[in-house]
Amino acid sequence: MNILSPLIDHFNYFIIIFLMVSGLYVVVARGNMVKKLVGLMLFQTSVYLLYLSPGKILGGTPPIIDENFQIYSNPLPHVLILTAIVVGVATVALGLALVLRINEEYGTIEEDEIFAAEDEDK
């Protein structure tokens, strides 16, 4: 039980680390450009959780002053992450647009095939 308790106490961080590492792995290991972007999104999502989970206190309410509630959660991380999500969406949209253009120019979105095509050009 003692071995497990730090795991259970910090389970949110383990989820974050798992998402982060698997996202980065997909970015590095996949040659398909759309899959790379999916990995990138996964990686970014882990950071959203990293901000959000410490801001929440169990039993806490939104910080509206009321004599019935004494414990408040921190609302700032939500606002920050709302911005980060917008940035993330913009990044992925731009990434997908670039992949579209790459597909038009090269006829493929597999990295190794594109590099092979480039080597032939030289």
Binding site: F43, T83, L94, G95, R101, Y106
Partner: protein, 493 residues
């Protein structure tokens, strides 16, 4: 009214300009808007520098919300220095730009080009001026996203490919940065940089701080193009439109270095980073590797823009070397080289932009003998190239003088020797272009080449003149750099 809102105007004007250029949709008018905004920026930056010199740090509460709760725009000597650099380079590049842009970018995309350029400008100035960690992330992404688009506008299809690769690397870098900021926020409960700097000393459990430092340093290093993570840079510079390369080479990496300086010195502090941790050793190793390896790779490039891009990686090595030494002289050398390298690389890329405009050639073998037909353009290239090597009388010498002096102060003769060796390799790669351009017989395509249009030539030569003038009169650059180094070494209190 205006003078008290200068920090906000520095960022808001390019943002408004970007919206306007997007609305007009006409290349010529968009250029004019960009020109007006771009020349207003250095005026604001100089006014801010004047305020900083007279009254000390300028703090501006955005929207009237007092820091540390609200977002603070904070201008000290270091940020004023970077603001001037970025805005001045932007103004010069955009004045040079119109015909080069018209020749390299499709007419229906020219207005969008200026939109993206202004957004990028807004992001870069924002990073330099903000005093808020998360706000810096947002500006980082504003500048990065517009940079990806600017690179993708290149004529070659490989431009899109390099934009995509930069997007992946850049996003990982920015996400690492925001991860580090998240850890700092959890530990200190603040996002205001000065506030974090004040609270960071009270933290007993330093393990999250180490993680934050690691994430932030690696994240920004990706943007700086520090040696092992520089691979996005050569392709991006080589295939982007000439104007974009000149702008990015002189501003984007420099602003990232500013952010790195901010975190290493002002937030985490010299003692924590450089005395308790082996950052000096790591950073010197990477810098030396960049100076030698990237220079050697530059020697073997066939494409002039790619060669200059590898040389940029090497030159960034000099800057980080100065940072790694973390002494007054070393840091002065690093900071002054931020400015000096920006000036000479902009001049080089502008000169090459003129060559591309007239001949379309970027391969070294294709520009054989061009010096005889475009003597003024290639003359600028030669002077800027000499500055890259570090010949006395140019700005390159000033930076290297400080760096060598800093190495000798520490008694590190080998480091001074490495700086000299790296300069000798620069002689080889600059010399190769000069030899081909001036001493070979021109081909048919080159024989038809003439000097570029007046404004392109004039702005290339303004920068070239600055290389020589600032090489003799070091008061403006090295003087301010020295005081900026003092500000950084004393911390943000």
């Amino acid at each position: 009214m205006i003078s008290s809102n200068l920090p906000a105007l520095q960022v808001v004007l390019p943002l408004l300009g970007a919206v306007l250029t997007a609305l007009v949709r006409r290349g010529q008018i968009a250029w004019f808007i960009a020109l007006v905004v771009s020349w207003t920026m250095p005026m604001i930056a100089f006014a801010l520098l004047k305020q900083v010199l007279a009254e000390g740090v300028v703090s501006y509460a955005l929207g009237g919300w007092a820091p540390p709760l609200g977002i603070e725009y904070r201008v000290d000597l270091v940020s004023a220095y970077i603001l001037i650099l970025v805005s001045l380079m932007g103004a010069l590049v955009v004045s040079y730009a119109p015909r080069s842009v018209a020749s390299e970018i499709a007419p229906e995309r020219q207005a969008w080009f200026y939109t993206m350029y202004l957004l990028c400008m807004c992001g870069l100035l924002g990073i330099a001026i903000t005093g808020d960690a998360f706000n810096a992330f947002v500006f980082l992404e504003v500048s990065s996203l517009s940079t990806y688009v600017l690179i993708a506008l290149g004529r070659d299809r490989r431009a899109i490919l390099s934009a995509y690769q930069y997007l992946i690397v850049g996003t990982i870098g920015a996400t690492f940065y925001v991860l580090g900021v998240g850890l700092l926020y959890v530990m200190t409960g603040s996002l205001n940089l000065a506030d974090i700097a004040g609270r960071i000393g009270d933290i007993d459990n330093i393990r999250p701080l180490l993680a934050a430092l690691a994430f932030i340093t690696v994240g920004i290093s990706l943007k700086v193009a520090l040696f092992p993570v520089h691979l996005w840079l050569p392709n991006a510079y080589a295939f982007a439109p000439s104007v974009v390369t000149a702008f990015l080479a002189s501003t984007a990496t420099k602003v990232a270095i500013y952010l790195l300086l901010r975190y290493l010195f002002s937030i985490f502090g010299v003692v924590f980073v450089f005395r308790d941790l082996p950052v000096t050793e790591i950073l010197i190793t990477l810098s030396v590797a960049a100076m030698i390896i990237a220079s050697v790779v530059a020697v073997f490039q066939a494409n002039v823009k790619r060669m200059l891009a590898y040389s940029s990686v090497a030159q960034i090595g000099y800057i980080t070397l100065g940072i790694a030494l973390a002494t007054q002289t070393g840091l002065t050398g690093g900071i002054v080289h931020i400015f000096n390298h920006a000036v000479m690389k902009a001049a080089l890329f502008m000169a090459i932009g003129c060559v591309v405009f007239r001949t379309g050639a970027v391969k070294i073998e294709d520009i054989a003998g061009i010096g005889r037909h475009m003597p003024l353009t290639m003359g600028a290239f030669v002077i800027a190239g000499l500055a890259l090597i570090g010949v006395p009388g140019t700005v390159g010498f000033v930076s290297k003088y400080y760096l060598v002096a800093a190495a000798l102060e520490k008694g590190w003769w080998w480091l001074a020797a490495i700086i000299v060796i790296s300069s000798l390799i620069a002689v080889v790669y600059v010399g190769r272009v000069i030899e081909v351009a001036w001493f070979r017989d021109p081909g048919a395509a080159i024989r038809a080449a003439r000097e570029p249009p007046l404004e392109m030539l004039v702005f290339t030569w303004i920068l070239t003149a600055a290389i020589v003038v600032l090489g003799f009169d070091t008061e403006l650059t090295a003087g301010i750099a020295g005081r900026a180094a003092e500000v950084l070494l004393t911390g943000m209190k």
